[in-house]
Symmetry: C2
Subunit: 114 residues, 2 copies
């Protein structure tokens, strides 16, 4: 995943663990694409302080993900959901005599992955 | 959920955000059912300090859950998984002429809930 997009997703998952000010600055920088200078003016904070906050919070978000894996588990779940929908579409197009085994297979997939 | 069980589950989800010592004390207290006195001896910490750590970490874990909702989302997902398996079992026992609609219904359930 592109680093900028990854941080943006991490903000969605872990932003609540940041302070309101940190959260605001991270959103302005990563989601609304403001420059350090613009953020400095909007938040009435020095450019250097904005830079430091972004750097520190980026590190914090990566640490939270390494400890809790919410983003990673969400990606895995999205993959499982897609797989499940694909399997149900496949099942719909098949002959009904194969149905029983196919459904068992999907159930096993749910048990193992969801 | 019983409070003791709830804290035990919260330790599973958020224990990595605690320090090693905090994590150890919380596990000894909530998962292995040791007394404050026993934990004090095992960890070479005063009984009062053990008590304070348990109280502070309990509060921390509840705060993490209120901000991230990992436990709550996991419970919802477990419910959805059970629902999905129930629906597949039902589908298996039905006549095949109802099959198409039933599968569409399950797909919609996956789209809305997983």
């Amino acid at each position: 995943m592109d680093e900028r997009i990854e941080v943006s997703v991490l903000i969605d998952f872990y932003g609540n663990l940041l302070t309101d000010k940190q959260n605001k600055i991270m959103n302005l920088y990563y989601n609304e694409d403001f420059s350090l200078k613009e953020i400095s003016e909007i938040t009435n904070t020095t450019r250097q302080a904005v830079y430091d906050i972004i750097k520190r919070c980026h590190k914090l978000l990566v640490q939270y993900e390494s400890k809790l894996q919410i983003m990673n588990k969400d990606l895995e779940l999205k993959k499982a959901k897609k797989q499940l929908i694909d399997r149900l579409n496949k099942l719909k197009s098949r002959q009904s005599d194969e149905l029983y085994d196919n459904i068992e297979e999907i159930k096993q997939y749910v048990i193992d992955n969801i």
